[in-house]
């Protein structure tokens, strides 16, 4: 919990978040820290929750790949796999 608060605080400080955005909490499972750290750098996490009923594992792989290849997200291969696994397991169709 302490780590989570620290991480979230860091992310709040680093980006111009809105009050509403701070109400979004992703499922507390392995990989969450990487997801929050990497994805929330550029966008709110409702982009993830809104796709829970829509993307399966292949869909999440494609989406994370697009974020890296087209949107310039600096995510290394190890984190990429952790993020895809977390999204597919917790927000997969």
């Amino acid at each position: 919990m302490r780590t989570l608060i620290l991480l979230l605080s860091l992310f709040l400080a680093a980006t111009a978040t809105t009050a509403g955005e701070n109400r979004i909490f992703l499922k507390d499972r392995p990989g969450k820290n990487q997801v929050v750290a990497q994805c929330a750098m550029c966008h709110s996490l409702d982009y993830i929750t809104a796709h829970a009923a829509i993307l399966d594992r292949a869909g999440w792989e494609k989406t994370v790949g697009k974020m890296i290849d087209s949107m310039g997200a600096p995510i290394n291969d190890a984190d990429k796999q952790v993020i895809i696994d977390y999204l597919a397991q917790n927000y997969g169709k």
Binding site: I5, L6, L8, S9, L12, A13, T15, A16, T17, T18, A19, G20, E21, N22, R23, I24, M41, C42, H43, S44, D46, Y47, A50, H51, A53, I54, L55, G59, T63, S70, M71, G72, A73, P74
Partner: protein, 401 residues
């Protein structure tokens, strides 16, 4: 630095605000999408509470009961961004730069010069997100799960793009005009939201650089101090906080033209952008004929009455709406709705119809618009990978008790 105590306080405030949701949901602000996702009302500074799709970048749609007015008020107008860094532009410091390899003289304008040097033009036009109603596609398509409110009709005032470009001297090699705004991604590696238009569309007399919307300066969230108005084309080309126009001799090959906002070729009627077309795909361009019932929603229960009014709006790519037909029996019989005032061929057209139910019960209400071109709405949406152009005839079930 945000400390721990402050963070906890903020979170507690957020939870308290959640209590207010129940109230807002009863007031009709909460709308359902086809995929049954919960929607959250939330207000951006200067805006009324709209339906929040994403916080950052901000994407908010207008509740359809706000579409009762011929022009959508500025503080209720939808908001759509691709990148999260949206600077508050100071009008005195804003500059529009005209460049590119296919002009003779690069130019730069202040807002004051733009207002003073060119003839002012006003046009009523619908601003419609390409992905409006994406949330109604079955099976679901990735992307923002918009309901029907990622659109708005407004009276735009500004100057013609062709007048502004004329002084730069357009070379005969000119092919496209690329369009860029002040907003950007958080990381320098993220592509800016840059689009392009075919030269002919850029020089169309109805293509404007607008600085006013419904008689007021553009709201920050809708492109202050100046944005492009491309009547009849979807809003992806209507660049906000416009800062740069480049007249170019080669097709613009940025992500937002080459990869995004594309549709399968030959699947949809109308629209051309030959310099950006491949054998298989082309950019989305012209708006398709469409309509929306605005005073009732699917699943709604209403008190039975002798006469029930059905109201809505209809629009197309600028040919104008010829007729709107309403069915109250699931498509068996159709009757023509009355069209209200015509504000010009790029504006949406309001319509209304009166339905006299013989008895209480369940009714299947449908609305179908036909354009002056003869084009009409299909019964099912045309499938496409990105979920654009949802213009199927709306079918809603209401219960009269």
């Amino acid at each position: 630095m945000v400390d721990r105590r402050h963070f906890i306080k903020k979170t507690a405030g957020g939870l308290a605000a959640l209590g207010g949701l129940t109230l807002l949901q009863r007031s009709g602000l909460a709308a359902a999408t086809g995929n049954g996702q919960a929607t959250i009302p939330d207000a951006l500074p200067g805006k009324e509470a709209l339906i929040k799709r994403t916080y950052r970048p901000p994407n908010y749609e207008t509740p359809i009961n706000y579409f009762d007015a011929p022009f959508t008020p500025n503080n209720q107008f939808f908001v759509r961004y691709h990148n999260a860094v949206i600077p508050e532009v100071k009008p005195g410091e804003w500059r529009l730069r005209i460049g590119g390899d296919a002009i003779r003289t690069p130019l730069e304008f202040s807002l004051e010069q733009l207002r003073k040097d060119f003839e002012h033009v006003e046009i009523a036009a619908l601003c419609l997100c390409s992905g409006n109603r994406r949330g109604a596609f079955e099976p679901p398509v990735p992307g923002l799960q918009w309901g029907s409110g990622a659109m708005g009709n407004a009276l735009w005032r500004g100057v013609r793009l062709k007048d502004v470009l004329a002084g730069a001297g357009i070379d005969k090699s000119a092919l496209e005009v690329s369009l860029a705004g002040a907003d950007s991604g958080v990381l320098p590696t993220t592509p800016n939201f840059v689009k392009s238009l075919p030269l002919a569309k850029a020089l169309d007399q109805n293509t404007l650089i607008a600085f006013e919307m419904n008689g007021e300066p553009l709201p920050h969230w809708n492109g202050f101090p100046a944005r492009l108005i491309i009547p009849g084309w979807t809003a992806t080309y209507w660049i906000k906080h416009l800062t740069a126009l480049n007249v170019i001799s080669e097709p613009f090959d940025g992500f937002w033209m080459k990869t995004a906002y594309r549709i399968p070729k030959d699947r949809f009627p109308g629209g051309q952008f030959s310099s950006q077309e491949t054998e298989m795909a082309m950019p989305i361009t012209e708006i398709l004929v469409n309509s929306l019932i605005t005073n009732m929603e699917d699943g709604q229960t209403l008190p039975n009455a002798k006469a029930i009014e059905i109201k809505g709006v209809a629009w197309d790519n600028g040919n104008g709406i010829a007729k709107v037909e309403i069915s109250t029996d699931g498509g068996g019989n159709w009757q023509q709705a009355a069209l209200k005032q015509d504000y010009g061929r790029f504006s949406w057209r309001q319509w209304h119809s009166v339905f006299e139910p013989k008895r209480p019960g369940q009714y299947r209400i449908m609305a179908r618009a036909t354009s002056h071109s003869g084009a009409t709405q299909p019964l099912e949406p045309i499938p496409n990978p990105s979920g654009y152009h949802h213009n199927a005839v709306q079918k809603i079930t209401i219960r009269l008790v």
